[in-house]
């Protein structure tokens, strides 16, 4: 039953990615040329509503659906991994115009060449796992 819930939320996510055009290579290209507000509007309004939601949750100490406290895990206090890892991801994001969510959405939507991106991304993560201890974090 629980699994069905996440499957259903995933369906909504896939629909939003397509209908918002956030899964379109064209929108990502345009975003990196700063030629439309569209992508910035999507990400910005998602963050603003997210910040407000998190504030309300913390202020009112709202419990989750299972009546547990909502946990917030703080990210590590370091710069290297975020700036280096983030830039590497950014290179790939711009090269294929898709981030991890949209690559699965696009494959489902019938753009089967997205499978090449997915498999390569799995391989990229595998390579990271092999090199992890040798990389600066």
């Amino acid at each position: 039953m629980k699994k069905l819930y996440f499957f259903a939320v995933g369906i909504v996510f896939g629909i939003v990615m397509i209908k918002s055009e956030a899964a379109s290579w064209f929108r990502i290209f345009e975003m990196f040329y700063f030629q439309s507000f569209h992508m910035y509007g999507i990400i910005g309004s998602a963050i603003i509503t997210g910040v407000l939601g998190n504030l309300v949750i913390k202020k009112l100490q709202i419990k989750d659906f299972n009546n547990n406290r909502i946990q917030y895990n703080n990210k590590e206090n370091t710069i290297k991994r975020y700036i280096v890892g983030g830039s590497i991801f950014g290179l790939g994001w711009a090269l294929v115009g898709a981030c991890p969510g949209p690559m699965f959405v696009l494959f489902g939507a019938g753009f089967y060449s997205a499978l090449i991106i997915i498999l390569s991304a799995v391989l990229g993560t595998f390579i990271y796992g092999l090199l992890k201890d040798k990389l600066p974090h």
């Binding site: 909504v12 990196f32 983030g86 830039s87 950014g90 991304a121």
Partner: protein
Amino acid sequence: MESILNPWPWYISGPLISIIMFLLIFNGKTFGVSSNLRTICSACGADKFSKFFDIKIKDHLWNLMFILGASVGGFIALNYLSKNTHVEISENTKTILELYNINSFDSDYLPLEIFALESLNLNNITILVVGGLLIGFGTRYAGGCTSGHAITGLSQLQLGSLISVIGFFIGGLIMIHLIYPILFL
């Protein structure tokens, strides 16, 4: 119905994304798609090569269900919830794309010049493979992607996520403005 079939404006889409994030948070999970890449590695036996992949797959099945749903959602949206699927990008962007010999913006959701199965030549396969490798490597290095850092992390005002998102844009801007012209012009 008309407004559902048309592309959704940013001020509808953005808040919907944060609602999706909260639907996961309210079930004790977090919104982070790239973690699935690690889970898939583990499921394929990568734990034999690095203890980074030594995770309980069972704890991450919910997220695999999420991306399975996302694929189905993509299918539904493109086939049943869209009147036409071309993307109304700005005229300036179209002019730049024409320089790159990409002209499918008036007809399609993605540039067919890169993504259509018929145009899968060695060049395009290399682009998709290298892009995928960078995404898979970079997201795990940074500990998250657009969902985990840009949406979830920034919503919690996490400094690490802000630095990551700055990184996303450094990489993206370098690719589009410096590397694209070398690769495609």
